[in-house]
């Protein structure tokens, strides 16, 4: 099992090169090869999650053994939490690449698309499974740079402008992260996450420590698009080709943003109450402001992009509540409930937001517009898109029996049990406005009469796109099953345990 871990990085990276080389000579090599690679990664990620069986697993690159119990090699770590994220990345990645087979035909330079896509996947997998800060940063840059290129893939005015803004702010984020990493290395003389934890436990300067934490938080906060660091997201996510938007919104901001924040603030830094409160506040602000920004939008993809901010707010708020409780050492079962809610919502969001962007892509594919005011009456001509987008809309709005309902329910109940009544009330209000804005989407896109007379070319999208949308909508229903206790024990509980018991991670790694 351990020996398979590097494949998550090696396979997509080598696929990138192979596509660039062989894609030139063989027509259609790129799309089928990329799909096969992603399918392999899906199988691999689920296999590794199951074989992990709730424990941790470690691979030392190059076989460098620790000296005096100080890890010196590159560590690749897989635990209950990041195995989930890896599964999401590759599963959504596979569906998106399959969807792209039809969708990306409208663009030239398909080779570059698939190559960059594999690079993106490799980068994200790398960020998630790295056990040290340096590799997190390197893989972060790999994935972020390929995402810059993918956002600008249409090379029209809007795309280039969005990509430029994204690059400037992304560069700022990378600078803040690197700055923070530098400060950490200066004091601790190590970059391994587990080792840093151990080094900091020997005592440290409080202010210095806080300063580093804030640098890291705002750096990865930029990647995760937490308000006030969110400004690049609506432009970038709406300008990218739709499958890429699905990837960026559904997976990317989680893998390189939220995941890293959670991982570092639970397992690397010592949890402090002040920091936990700050994170919760940021999450709440994102949740509330994001949704208010979203409801006024008429461009579908901008609307969806703003909702990503808001939904990530839910995740951050919920995990933050868990963090506050862990730092106070109170009510451990409520803390784990809150964290469960957050991670559960993270997974669900990947499914429904990915699906929504694919729906938006299908609409754009047939109508050639993203403006809600120019649509209407699509339910008749595009039944699959209509049905799947309804499922996704209900999921994100938290209506039973879809997955979003259960995760929001857990989040709200955890907030009430933890006595954060205001946060519970805000979560409810945001949920209502989310519902309102998605019903707006449903109404203007699928209901009502068509605004412009539709030609005969307006029909359901081709099979690969339909297939991906149907699989994701089934996923939206199936993920509801995670709420059943025995399923939750197997899948979510290991992820929560590694966070509620922060020292488990570092003791395991340093003990190897």
């Amino acid at each position: 099992m351990n020996q398979l871990l590097p494949l998550f990085v090696i396979v997509p990276l080598s696929a990138t090169f192979l596509i660039m080389i062989f894609g030139r000579f063989f027509k259609d090599f790129n799309k089928y090869f990329a799909s096969c690679v992603l399918l392999f990664l899906v199988v691999l990620s689920f296999y590794s999650m199951i074989s992990l069986n709730g424990g941790l697993s470690l691979y030392k690159v190059g076989g460098w053994q620790p000296i005096n119990k100080i890890p010196i090699g590159i560590y690749i770590v897989m635990d209950g939490f990041n195995s989930l994220i890896v599964c999401i990345i590759n599963l959504i990645g596979f569906l998106v690449v399959f969807y792209s087979i039809s969708y990306i035909k409208r663009y030239t330079a398909e080779n570059y698309f698939y190559a960059l896509f594999c690079l993106l996947i490799g980068g994200m997998n790398g960020v998630v499974i790295s056990g040290d800060l340096f590799n997190i940063f390197v893989f972060l840059e790999i994935s972020v740079i390929s995402s810059y290129a993918l956002v600008a893939f249409g090379v029209e005015k809007n795309e280039l402008e969005a990509s430029f803004k994204y690059q400037v702010l992304g560069g700022l984020a990378s600078f803040l992260i690197l700055f923070g990493i530098g400060f950490i290395y200066w004091k601790t003389k190590t970059l391994n996450i587990a080792d840093i934890r151990a080094a900091f436990s020997n005592g440290y300067d409080k202010k210095y420590y806080l300063f580093v934490q804030l640098l890291i938080l705002s750096g990865f906060g930029l990647k995760a698009a937490i308000i006030p660091f969110h400004a690049w997201l609506p432009d970038a996510h709406s300008s990218a080709p739709s499958p890429i938007s699905a990837m960026l919104s559904g997976v990317f901001i989680k893998a390189v943003g939220i995941y890293v924040i959670i991982r570092l603030f639970f397992n690397m830094f010592e949890i402090s109450e002040g920091m936990a409160i700050l994170i919760t506040t940021l999450g709440t602000i994102s949740m509330v402001i994001g949704v208010f920004l979203a409801i006024g939008q008429w461009d579908i993809k901008r609307l969806l992009a703003y909702h990503s901010i808001s939904q990530m707010g839910y995740v951050v708020m919920s995990v933050g509540i868990g963090m506050i409780l862990v730092s106070r050492g109170l009510k451990p079962e409520v803390a784990s409930l809150a964290i469960t809610g957050g991670i559960y919502h993270l997974i669900n969001h990947a499914a429904f937001k990915g699906l929504l962007f694919l729906n938006a892509g299908a609409i754009e594919y047939t109508l050639g517009t993203r403006n809600l005011k120019e649509m209407g009456g699509l339910a008749k001509v595009m039944p699959v898109t209509s049905a799947t987008s309804f499922i996704a809309s209900m999921s994100i709005s938290g209506v039973p029996p879809f997955n979003g309902f259960f995760s929001k329910l857990i989040i709200i109940i955890a907030a009430i049990l933890a006595r954060f009544y205001l946060l519970a009330a805000l979560a409810v209000i945001v949920s209502i406005i989310t519902l309102a804005s998605f019903l707006k989407f449903q109404r203007y896109a699928f209901y009502d009469k068509p605004k412009n007379p539709m030609g005969s070319e307006v029909k359901e999208v081709p099979f690969p796109m339909v297939f991906s949308m149907i699989v994701l909508s089934i996923l939206c229903l199936l993920l509801s099953l995670l709420v059943i206790p025995s399923v939750r024990e197997v899948i979510l509980a290991p992820a929560v345990n590694i966070l509620t018991d922060p020292l488990k991670y570092s003791t395991f790694i340093l003990g190897q």
Partner: protein, 619 residues
């Protein structure tokens, strides 16, 4: 035991299977749906006649696991799967079955191609989830079923034009919003009591937390049932949805469920304090009066019925607000009666629309001769809703009045105000009468238009449900005090004695005798000899100019100085909680998006400012 699980799962599974059958075979789909509803109807009768039972987790998991997967795979989810059939839920499921069968029969002909896609699927899912909501003992399980009903409500409206799609959106937003608010109530209950079993919760409303929980759950119940101020979806829905959908959801099932939940929370789950009682009673009378005032000025008959669907809820809330045994029984009785005549009214409005295609009272007239069955049934429903003895509406309203008078002898501010509650309730009843005279007069009486000469009565499958429902109106009215209330409603509320002397059957007999006397007098003195002339001035016939439509008489109400301001504001949706919040949200949204100018330096500034602020706060 098994029946409880089967009546939930059977319709849902059947509904899901019907998705696979193409729309062209919708008559077959309809017949299948009728078959399923009859089977489940039979099962509910079995449940009703057996004793009360709480279904234990293991057992229900075993049974449902057996039905669903053929194995006990969901056994560990068992602590949420608790079903309970007590007197209240048994009563409700019985009536759910009744309405489902009747309205499905009606739908087979009424639902034409292209009205609503997958009508029968959503219909059956609604059925299963309604049973589920009523029978579940766990609050979360209850809420799960309750939430799905919002989706089916949304899907049972066509949404092919601008108005109906806007209505569908508004409906689901209001329903979904109230459902989300309910989560807060459920969470607080969990926090306070540590349990979610509806049967064992009893929370005194002494501190702010429990009051908030109560209000949150009340919001859910009120929105579902359509009470002020969350009622605004009901008239819109009634206007835009197919009549059978309106008859099914807002008129009968949503009332049954909403009031069922109101009964649960006011009676058992919370012990109300004095202020909450006043709140309930005031909302009751406000619902009665405001909705009926709006109904008076409507021209669209479906919308008019929609406002009455709101107004009648006020009576039920009054009943439950009183909290006494007679009040609860009266509230439940009125709920059932209302569901009977209101779904009947919606169905007859569907008949009228089916034959004439007109939606406004002004465009109709004189249909009594050509559609006699519809006319008689509608007349009975109208008299029932207006509270005319001996029909059922009178019987339950009379019990509510009795309850209020009885309540007046108690202490507390709410009791001191009993004359107010009583007066408003009676006034509301009178105004209901007024608006139904408009409906009956405008549609069935008055002068028939030439284009309606060749209209025929609706097919038998459409008028049969009407006939059955009107029969129920009569039976429930005539045998109210000696049969219906003691047999059906006293087991739920506990037994009580009626105030004063009132025996519905005896009074019905008196009414009958006086009608017969009247007919005898009419025939005996041969009063038929009177002369009819068209109106004329100076020998000129001016029939066309002097023929006023019935609605003209009601215009004056809207022109009273006191009311006209209110009506104008209501036109502008100033009293619509949906539009008010929509305006606020969009305003805020606009303000926030102004800040997103798209200027990169500004965005960079935000990042830096955010970092600095965080540094200042933390260090």
């Amino acid at each position: 035991m098994k029946e409880i699980i089967s009546i939930i799962i059977l319709p849902v599974l059947a509904g899901l299977l019907l998705f696979l059958i193409p729309e062209k075979l919708r008559t077959i789909k309809g017949l299948a749906a009728v078959l399923i509803s009859i089977i489940t109807g039979y099962l509910t009768v079995v449940i009703y006649s057996s004793g009360n039972q709480v279904m234990h987790p293991d057992e229900s998991a075993a049974v449902s696991g057996f039905i669903l997967f053929g194995l006990k795979s969901i056994i560990d989810a068992a602590r949420y799967l608790v079903f309970n059939s007590d007197n209240l839920s048994k009563l409700i499921i019985l009536f759910i079955s009744l309405f489902t069968v009747l309205i499905l029969l009606y739908s087979i002909i009424y639902i034409k191609e292209g009205t609503v896609k997958n009508y029968y699927s959503y219909f059956l899912i609604t059925l299963g989830c309604s049973y589920g909501a009523v029978l579940s003992d766990n609050l979360l399980l209850f809420f799960f079923f309750w939430g799905i009903l919002g989706i089916t409500l949304y899907k049972l409206i066509s949404g092919h034009d601008e108005e109906s799609s806007a209505t569908a959106k508004k409906t689901l937003i209001l329903i979904g919003a109230s459902d989300s608010i309910m989560i807060i109530g459920i969470g607080i209950i969990w926090k306070i009591t540590g349990t979610l079993s509806i049967g064992s919760i009893s929370v005194p409303t002494t501190n702010a937390l429990s009051v908030v929980a109560f209000l949150a759950l009340l919001t859910g119940s009120f929105t579902k049932a359509g009470a002020f101020p969350f009622h605004t979806w009901v008239p819109d829905y009634a206007k835009s949805a197919p009549a059978s959908s309106s008859a099914y959801m807002p008129a009968s099932l949503d009332k049954l469920l909403g009031i069922y939940f109101l009964a649960r929370i006011t009676n058992k789950m919370f012990i109300l304090n004095g202020w909450l009682t006043i709140l309930l009673l005031s909302i009751g009378v406000i619902s009665i009066i405001t909705a009926v005032m709006m109904a008076l000025v409507q021209h669209n008959y479906k919308r008019l019925l929609g406002y009455h669907a709101v107004s009648q809820v006020g009576y039920m809330i009054l009943g439950f607000g009183l909290g006494s045994t007679i009040g609860v029984a009266a509230g439940l009785f009125h709920m059932v009666n209302n569901a009977i005549y209101k779904s009947g009214l919606f169905l007859s409005s569907g008949c009228i629309e089916y034959r004439t295609g007109k939606e406004n009272i002004d465009d109709l007239g004189g249909l009594s001769k050509v559609m006699p069955v519809t006319f008689v049934a509608t007349l009975i429903f109208a008299m029932s809703i207006s509270g005319i003895p001996p029909f059922n509406g009178f019987a339950s309203k009379w019990m509510i009045y009795q309850g209020i008078i009885d309540f007046g002898s108690g202490s507390g501010i709410a009791s001191k105000l009993w004359v107010l509650w009583l007066g408003m309730a009676v006034l509301g009843s009178a105004l209901t009468m007024a608006s139904f005279i408009k409906l009956i007069g405008g549609i069935f009486l008055s002068r028939r238009r030439p284009e309606f000469e060749n209209i025929k009565e609706v097919p038998v499958l459409m008028w049969l449900p009407l006939a059955v429902l009107s029969l129920f109106c009569v039976v429930f009215g005539v045998f109210a005090t000696n049969l219906v209330v003691p047999k059906l409603f006293m087991p739920v509320s506990g037994s009580f004695r009626f105030l004063g002397f009132w025996n519905s059957s005896f009074v019905s007999l008196l009414v009958l005798i006086s009608i017969i006397l009247g007919i005898i007098l009419y025939l005996a003195f041969n009063l038929k000899k009177f002369r009819t002339e068209d109106s004329f001035i100076g020998g000129e016939r001016i029939q066309d100019q002097t023929s006023y439509s019935t609605t003209e008489f009601y215009k004056t109400i809207g022109e009273f100085r006191f009311f006209s301001g209110f009506y104008k504001k209501a036109e502008e949706k100033w009293f619509d909680i949906y539009d008010l919040s929509k305006r606020f949200v969009l305003w805020l949204s606009h303000q926030l998006s102004e800040a997103h100018s798209g200027m990169l330096p500004g965005y960079v500034l935000w990042v830096v400012a955010g970092l600095i602020i965080m540094l200042l706060i933390m260090i």
